[in-house]
């Protein structure tokens, strides 16, 4: 397969495959629900009445379009290319996740389902799902690893204020992967009346394509905004990748263009330490959570523990479309450590008065380093996927230790 022969707009195929990746690896109990969802997604989201309702919610409720902001002081500090930020942190609930939950929540309503469930890592997807459930008057249950409940406590409170029930998950590593396992287990018991709102471009078909399509608005807006502001498209797009929804949302509208792209994974304590979440950088192909993609796993096919300071990137899998984009060399995947992300977090706070999510700080860290290697007339567009209020506790815990070291 050559990059030129790929029609990105036509992926995945009818069975949900992105080349050798993706698919529907789920238990038979869920297959009818997955097929029903696929049919509803195809039929309902094509209706103009659905699209109009979604568009008006995205504008009047979620605050779209989000701005693109030229980060001049940050660019000066980095030295080199101009860094622009796509401000998903300014969307309602503080991250890009609301684009997808409004889309899936509206689809659930059109399908007549009154109960939403979701998994969450950092809590941003959980908050966005709880918000959508409140908006539509639906019941909501959020599965969250016990470890993530501890480190993202403010988001747990937010979900509860919004009327959602937060279900702690103790199995496995008590993080995002296990929350997704538990959400799938719950879904099989309640599949007739419950809509599972998956938050990333992961899971069985149609989720990777559906979530991408609901997030594609990020890149579509950014294309227009960059053309207006800079008179041209950026040279490089940068976005963090856990499961990969904000990155797919930004990248997809640019795949046919001459624009370079980098997905930034979490290198945690360093790739060599083994404590990281750099699935595309170091992983191998396998099947987890309903799709074939790259995975962190041992030789026997057991999924291994991921690590990142950022709960939203702390996931040993990645969306199948990213796996294909890696193999096609259309997108390059890099990794940034906890310490580098923390330094970029502070740099963005001080240089621009913007407190980023630790997830997004990984993308900022990569962009600052890359800007130094590029001429001043190059443009780098970073997806600032979320704001950092939820991370203050983690950052305060981590920074004094760093300062005593340096």
């Amino acid at each position: 397969m050559t990059t030129e022969s790929i029609d990105y707009g036509r992926l995945p195929d009818a069975a949900g495959h992105f080349g050798p990746f993706g698919g529907r690896y789920v238990a038979e109990i869920l297959m009818p629900a997955i097929l029903e969802l696929e049919a509803a997604w195809t039929d309902i989201t094509a209706k103009s009445a659905f699209q109009q309702e979604l568009q008006s919610l995205l504008q009047a409720y979620a605050g779209r379009p989000t701005p693109v902001y030229p980060a001049r002081r940050l660019s000066e500090q980095a030295g080199g290319a101009a860094i622009y930020l796509k401000r998903e942190d300014l969307a309602h609930t503080g991250a890009h996740k609301i684009n997808n939950t409004l889309g899936q929540g509206l689809l659930a309503r059109w399908m007549g389902k009154q109960k939403l469930i979701a998994e969450t890592g950092a809590g941003q997807h959980g908050v966005a799902t709880a918000t959508t459930a409140a908006l539509f008057g639906m019941q909501c249950r959020i599965f969250m690893g016990r470890e993530d409940i501890r480190r993202q406590a403010p988001n747990v409170r937010r979900m509860e204020l919004l009327g959602a029930e937060v279900v702690p998950v103790d199995s496995g590593t008590a993080t995002l992967k296990d929350a997704m396992n538990e959400a799938m287990r719950y879904w099989v018991t309640a599949v007739q009346d419950t809509f599972y709102v998956i938050g990333s471009v992961a899971g069985p078909h149609p989720y990777p394509a559906m979530v991408r399509d609901f997030q594609r608005v990020i890149g579509e807006e950014a294309r227009r905004q960059m053309t207006t502001m800079a008179g041209r498209l950026p040279d490089l797009l940068v976005a963090c990748v856990g499961g990969g929804s904000n990155a797919m949302g930004l990248f997809h509208a640019f795949l046919e263009d001459d624009v370079a792209m980098v997905g930034v994974e979490a290198a945690g304590c360093g790739i060599d330490s083994g404590k990281h979440a750099a699935t595309l950088t170091t992983g191998t192909v396998g099947v987890l959570h309903g799709a074939k993609s790259y995975l962190l796993q041992d030789e026997g096919g057991q999924v291994t523990e991921a690590h990142s300071i950022s709960a939203g990137l702390d996931y040993p899998g990645v969306g199948p479309e990213h796996a294909l984009l890696k193999d096609l060399h259309r997108v390059r995947y890099a990794a940034v450590t906890d310490d580098q992300a923390l330094a970029a977090f502070q740099a963005l706070c001080r240089a621009e008065g913007i407190i980023p999510a630790l997830e997004s700080a990984h993308a900022v860290a990569f962009a600052m380093a890359e800007a130094r290697r590029r001429p001043a007339d190059d443009i780098i567009l970073v997806n600032l996927s979320g704001r950092g209020d939820k991370d203050l506790g983690i950052v305060f815990d981590a920074l004094p230790k760093k300062e005593t070291r340096t």
Binding site: A15, G23, R24, Y25, V26, A27, E28, I29, M31, P32, A33, S171, G172, K177, N181, M184, R185, V188, T189, A190, V191, Q192, G286, V287, L288, H289, G290, L295, Q297, E299, G300, G301, Q302, V303, T304
Partner: protein, 268 residues
């Protein structure tokens, strides 16, 4: 005749139903797992399902999740499970089905798995998260048709889909009794009977029912409407509660006796 087919034919002649027993291979370790499995086969288990442990068992309830974790903590690999099947085969002629999630088999190698599992004397495979939509990539690499691929049918499976699943299944069809994970409560025998009848209308192969069957009374009730019953979590619970007992194989054999007697009850 293949071992599973032969077993169902024998049972049918005796007017008995099949008792299919699931245990996680390598729980609590490979040595005790061998003792448990062979004791269960000697006690009259008709078909043995050996569970391959997996880090992320999304279709399993807490009891089998914990069994899987114990086995992984003891270091069990798929290669060990195949070797365990070979050791059981030396002591028993009961059909052995390997019950797995897809990823361990995918990593082992799809062709190598077929070759090695068959050589070990295993008779079939059930892959929980491999629906017919995705299974061609595996079966296309299997050389020969000596190995049965056991398919799942759920309460949510519509009739047209049942026919499609049945057409690619062999050995027996595994009818999931309820929408839930393994070890759930709430057995609804009339609903199971209706689904089993729908399944028999589109297929001639035996229908075994699993999920949520835990007592000899459950076994008797479900045996009346199906060709066999599958019991898993009840065995695993006994293993977990008596994990250090030297009498564990004998306790499980006793359970098998009780369940097996319930499959021999006359149909109402």
């Amino acid at each position: 005749m293949k071992r599973i087919e032969k077993k169902f034919k024998e049972l049918s002649e005796l007017n008995e139903k099949a008792l299919v027993g699931f245990v996680t291979a390598g729980d609590p370790d490979l040595g005790r797992s061998l003792a448990i499995a062979t004791a269960m086969c000697r006690a009259g288990l008709d078909v043995l399902e050996l569970g391959v442990p997996f880090s992320d068992p999304t279709a399993d309830g807490p009891v089998i999740q914990r069994a899987s974790s114990r086995s992984l903590a003891a270091g069990t690999t798929l290669g060990d499970v195949i070797e365990l099947a070979a050791r059981i085969r030396r002591q028993s002629d009961a059909p052995i089905i390997l019950f797995s999630y897809y990823n361990p088999i995918f990593q082992y190698g799809l062709e190598a798995f077929y070759r090695d599992a068959l050589a070990a004397g295993a008779d079939g495979l059930l892959v929980v998260d491999l629906p017919p939509e995705e299974s061609d990539e595996m079966t296309a690499l299997w050389r020969g048709a000596d190995f049965d691929l056991i398919r799942l049918v759920a309460p949510t499976t519509p009739a047209a889909r049942m026919a499609r699943i049945a057409s690619s299944a062999s050995g027996f069809l595994y009818l999931v009794s309820m929408t839930g994970v393994t070890g759930s409560d709430g057995l609804d025998v009339p609903a199971i009977a209706r689904q089993a009848d729908r399944l028999r209308a589109v297929s001639d192969i035996p229908v075994c029912v699993g999920f949520g069957i835990s007592t000899p009374d459950d076994v008797a009730a479900v045996s009346a409407v199906a060709d066999g019953v599958v019991i898993g979590s009840a065995f695993e619970r006994m293993i977990e509660e008596n994990i250090d007992s030297p009498d564990l194989p004998a306790m499980l054999a006793e359970m098998v006796h009780g369940y097996k007697a319930a499959t021999q009850a006359k149909r109402p």
